[in-house]
């Protein structure tokens, strides 16, 4: 492999790698604004200056490819001066509104200004100002904070496949906006906010809700479809404020869709059922776990029992249900449900050119691996036990007795006679298998809400109780 020298350290590289990537390997962080590994290189912010020996001027590291024997300095006096100069230009029109800006704390402009800029400003003229643009339900644009890195324009063109952001006019009068101020059409608009290096494109869903540094982050997997995008859940005080994509070049690269990004809302929906309850005439009564577990066990031990497993559950939960069913109701039919019309992986496939898959549940492949046959049509049986993670679409149920185990909202409980509340994908750990057959782990980000219990625990309690007393 060819070698070059960065800050006196020799480092190997692959042909075609740029200096930003290679420098990372020796621990030299080069500040960037317009460069993003998932987008084309334009070298227009001029922040990533480095000094390359035998080259007369400072070079932009993002557009300079490493070459055999190249000697690069990333911390020389000339580089520092160059970067400070760039920072001064970028901040000419930038408002000092960090205290009320949502990006503060995770802002590239803030970090790089602190790391490479000067603490003084020579510019005393008036700053240009723009009116905020409403870009639809996902994004709010504040052009005053923009440094025209054009990441958003390139993201739309190259990743989302829709050229909806434009740079109108030029120079000091430049305006990054949508054509005629239209609303964004793409279903991946949340990424605009992620890649924006300033607080110019902010998520309406997150605006003014929480400061970035207060959030606790958990790396988990999105359950929005069978793609299995890697994402990070950001919560504080057991309340999720935002989900952002994590880099995984084999699955979702750097992106995720809006449907997956905002899917978390149902987890903290006030109408989510978090106490065990049973139907009594037209109303619902909150009942003790013991009572419902007795009923659950009695009914599941009878004849004509059907177990329905949502394809949004983890492999561990599915296996636990299969195993418990052997002891609890050996003659029961075990079937899976998830997305109507996409009952098996052969019917699954890309829903668009980017990330979304047809199957709206995360573990269709896993259910198949465990040999669970799909339910076709309505669920007709004397007793139907539905296990669900929260996202699988409920089938029509025609039964004398129906139990719901898992996550249900109030509007969904009319299908059932009793609900045993379970955990959502953010409150449990487990394994899901995506459409490629990759096994990935869910990580617990939240504590369980109310009196909800894990499906494994519910099954175990039901199996080992006698007359309301749990015996080992």
């Amino acid at each position: 492999m060819p070698k070059c020298t960065i800050d006196g350290k020799e480092v190997e590289f692959k042909a075609g790698e740029n200096l930003v990537t290679v420098a990372k390997r020796v621990g030299a962080e080069i500040p960037v604004f317009c460069y993003h590994p998932g987008l084309s290189v334009v070298a227009q912010c001029r922040m990533c200056y480095v000094e390359v020996e035998k080259m007369p001027k400072l070079q932009t590291a993002c557009s300079t490819l490493a070459a055999e024997g190249m000697v690069v300095k990333t911390q020389s006096e000339a580089v520092k001066k160059g970067r400070a100069g760039t920072m001064e230009f970028l901040l000419l029109n930038h408002p000092l509104d960090c205290p009320i800006c949502d990006k503060a704390g995770e802002c590239d402009l803030q970090d790089n200004s602190f790391g490479h800029g000067s603490e003084f400003m020579r510019h005393s003229e008036e700053r240009r100002t723009y009116v905020d643009v409403d870009m639809g339900p996902v994004i709010q644009k504040n052009m005053n904070r923009c440094i025209h890195c054009t990441r958003c324009i390139r993201f739309g063109e190259e990743v989302a496949g829709i050229h909806e952001m434009v740079a109108i006019k030029r120079g000091n009068n430049i305006d990054i906006t949508t054509i005629d101020g239209k609303q964004l059409k793409t279903e991946y608009a949340g990424n605009y906010s992620d890649i924006c290096p300033t607080g110019s494109l902010t998520l309406k869903d997150f605006r003014f809700k929480k400061r970035a540094w207060m959030l606790k982050k958990t790396a988990t997997i999105c359950e929005g479809c069978s793609k299995g995008c890697n994402m990070e859940v950001q919560q504080e005080g057991n309340v999720v404020y935002r989900c952002v994509p994590r880099e995984n070049l084999e699955i979702n690269k750097y992106w995720m869709c809006d449907e997956g990004r905002f899917n978390y809302h149902y987890v903290q929906d006030p109408s989510r059922i978090v106490s065990p309850m049973k139907r009594s005439g037209d109303s619902w009564l909150v009942s003790p776990w013991e009572e419902l577990l007795v009923n659950f066990r009695t009914d599941s031990a009878g004849t004509g029992v059907m177990l329905l497993i949502g394809t949004d559950l983890t492999l561990e939960e599915m296996k636990a249900i299969q195993e418990t069913a052997k002891a609890l109701s050996p003659r029961a039919a075990i079937l899976s449900f998830g997305t109507p019309g996409v009952e098996s992986t052969t019917q699954d496939g890309p829903r668009d050119q980017i990330l979304k898959m047809k199957s709206k549940t995360s573990n269709l492949k896993g259910a198949e691996m465990l040999g669970i046959q799909p339910l076709l049509g309505a669920a007709k049986s004397d007793v139907v036990l539905v296990f669900r993670g929260g996202r699988a679409e409920l089938p029509r149920i025609e039964a004398k007795k129906a139990y719901g185990v898992g996550v249900f909202l109030e509007k969904e409980r009319n299908h059932f006679h009793a609900i045993l509340p379970g955990l959502s994908f953010l409150e449990k750990e487990g394994t899901v298998v995506n459409h490629q057959g990759k096994e990935q782990s869910l990580k617990r980000a939240l504590l369980p809400r109310g009196k909800s219990k894990a499906i494994g625990e519910i099954l175990m309690l039901a199996l080992h109780q006698r007359n309301g007393e749990v015996t080992a």
Binding site: H163, E164, M165, V166, A167, I168, K169, R170, I179, D180
Partner: protein, 161 residues
């Protein structure tokens, strides 16, 4: 088929020019010039039609058309005066000329007179610094301007109508 805004002549001219460029995108600038020659300015529908003809997204045409000041995105008067206010002209009194023209025509820079006769706008360097201050009157250069000659020029144009 959508309604066409551009004439057959436009498409013939484009066909001739097409072979001159290695890349179809290079046709954007000549196409905008040609369309402006036909319309006097560039309405949104025309920009959309050019985008469709060249095969790029409308956004790209908008970016190009708004980048160059010589493409008019608003209707202009019969006589479009583009006064240079860049360094050389500025040193030779372009600011006073602009002020005078504004007063004389009764409009602000960037506006058109109510009778549609004149449009006054500001231009960055016109590349004729040796004869500063300069302005462009439609496609012609008027050089070595002073308040007298500017007054004379405007009067002459008014008279000719």
């Amino acid at each position: 088929m959508k309604e066409k805004h551009l004439s057959e002549k436009f498409y013939q001219a484009m066909k001739q020019k097409e072979s001159r460029y290695p890349d179809r995108k290079a046709l954007i600038l000549p196409a905008l010039h040609q369309a402006q020659a036909e319309y006097g300015w560039l309405p949104k529908e025309v920009l959309a039609e050019i985008a469709e003809y060249i095969g790029v997204h409308e956004a790209q045409i908008r970016e190009v058309a708004s980048f160059y000041t010589m493409y008019n995105l608003k209707p202009v008067g019969k006589m479009h005066l583009k006064l240079c206010t860049n360094v050389a002209c500025c040193l030779r009194g372009a600011d006073e000329l602009m002020e005078y023209a504004e007063k004389k025509l009764g409009v602000k820079c960037g506006e058109t007179t109510p009778d549609g006769a004149f449009t006054l706008s500001e231009e960055e360097c016109l590349g004729a610094c040796t004869t500063a201050p300069v302005m462009m009157a439609n496609d012609d250069y008027v050089e070595n301007l002073d308040i007298n000659s500017l007054n004379h020029f405007i009067e002459k144009v008014k008279h000719e109508r």
